[in-house]
Amino acid sequence: MLLKIFLDFKSPAAYLAIKPTVALIEEYHPEVQWLAVRSTQKKQPKPAANAGKGSIHRYVRGLARMQTHLLYAGIQGIEMKFPDSDSCTDLALAALGYTAKSDLGSLPFIHAAFSAHWSQQADLNDLEVVLGILSDRGYRPKESDLKAALEELPDAERVAHEAGVFEAPSYLIADQMFLGREHLPWIKLILASG
């Protein structure tokens, strides 16, 4: 059974999804494709004193989400530091496409890239940084490989959108799309039945 998993390294929800998702994969051994989707992660500014309800709502929601992510990072025992400014992770997303063609698979890079972003605030849109992460994990990319992968990123995005995927982490299995690791029990049922 094929399980497509859409990630973005700057998504805190995707970061927190890795551990339980990998555990599920190790239990059921589905065929897995790790794919890229650009998620929307924007720091909500503190609203001005005379701000409208919408601004206040978005700020309260953003703050609450961050606190909830940190709560579960503590539960999972992983380090999580939110960046001070909005991030771009396009090069790392492109590298995800590169690693899918490697004998090593994508998982070593996925673990390393998430850790680099969330523990060390690494710039995952920096060529040197991403090449360094890949090399440290045993991949042997050339600069041209990454540039070619970057050119393929818009196509990868289109594939994601056509499948109805608009955020990370998203799971596609048995014609169903699930957004978020909270659906892993249902995904587990599907894997167990197949």
């Binding site: 339980p20 929307t40 409208g52 309800k53 919408g54 206040i56 709502h57 978005r58 309260v60 929601r61 703050l63 609450a64 909830t68 709560l71 579960y72 539960i75 999972q76 109805g164 608009f166 955020e167 169903q176 799309m177 699930f178 957004l179 978020g180 690791r181 909270e182 659906h183 892993l184 029990p185 249902w186 049922l189």
Partner: protein, 225 residues
């Protein structure tokens, strides 16, 4: 009349819900089950979402949007949210039809306060009457007389409710709504316990672990099925 403080209760868990929320709808059954399992009485309260102020507004006619000020990203998220809530509702044996407009759910939500105050043991009956009827499009929750019918149907004394939802109940409700953002509450269902404020039924495993005495490792989030 004692006004409520948004984060304080004699109960070990406060649950904020809104009749018009599909996600609150599918949270009701697992939350009631947890309440029963733990042999506790949660403090159920209304949070009447002011959806147009933060998600755009939309009205529909014959199934089509005729007026909207939502972005395409917002629409994608809303459509997914309804599809997702629908598939979980179906697993629970419910029908969840798409909503035809953004409803004012305050009267039905004040009904929660009424039942909590006067007939606490019938709260589950109130939910299992109002929610499924509304989501089958068989209940106009803006019509106070239809809400009264629901109270009567479950054997809750509705005498005084019409005045209550205009006066005492309305004041309790509005006073509570005014505190919510500043308390860190913004959506439904929201669970409040011991300084934790968690939005979404995916936190029920953690809520259960905490209320049952924090034995073993804390669980990750998950939709119970």
């Amino acid at each position: 009349m004692q006004l409520m403080k948004a984060l304080e209760s004699d109960a070990r868990l406060i649950v904020y819900i809104d009749i018009k929320s599909p996600y609150a709808f599918v949270a009701i059954q697992p939350t009631l089950e947890l309440e029963s399992k733990l042999k506790m009485r949660f403090d159920w309260r209304p949070l009447t979402l002011d959806i147009p102020s933060y998600l755009g507004s939309a009205t529909k006619s014959q199934g089509k949007v005729v007026q909207a000020n939502r972005s395409s990203a917002q629409w994608q998220a809303v459509r997914y949210a309804y599809r997702d809530a629908r598939r979980y509702a179906e697993r629970q044996g419910y029908i969840l039809k798409g909503t035809t407009k953004i409803w004012d759910s305050s009267i039905a939500n004040i009904g929660i306060l009424w039942v909590m105050q006067h007939h606490r043991t019938r709260l589950a009956d109130y939910f299992s009457t109002v929610y499924p009827l509304f989501w089958r499009r068989e209940l106009d929750i803006e019509d106070v007389y239809r809400v009264v019918d629901c109270l009567d149907a479950i054997g809750v004394n509705s005498e005084g409710f019409i005045e209550y939802q205009q006066t005492v109940g309305r004041e309790l409700h509005d006073n509570l709504q005014a505190q919510l953002h500043s308390s860190g509450i913004y959506g439904v269902p929201t669970y409040v316990f011991d300084r934790h404020i968690l939005f979404g039924r995916e936190h029920l495993p953690l809520v259960q672990w905490h209320l049952a005495g924090r034995q073993g490792e804390a669980p990750d989030m998950a939709y119970l099925i």
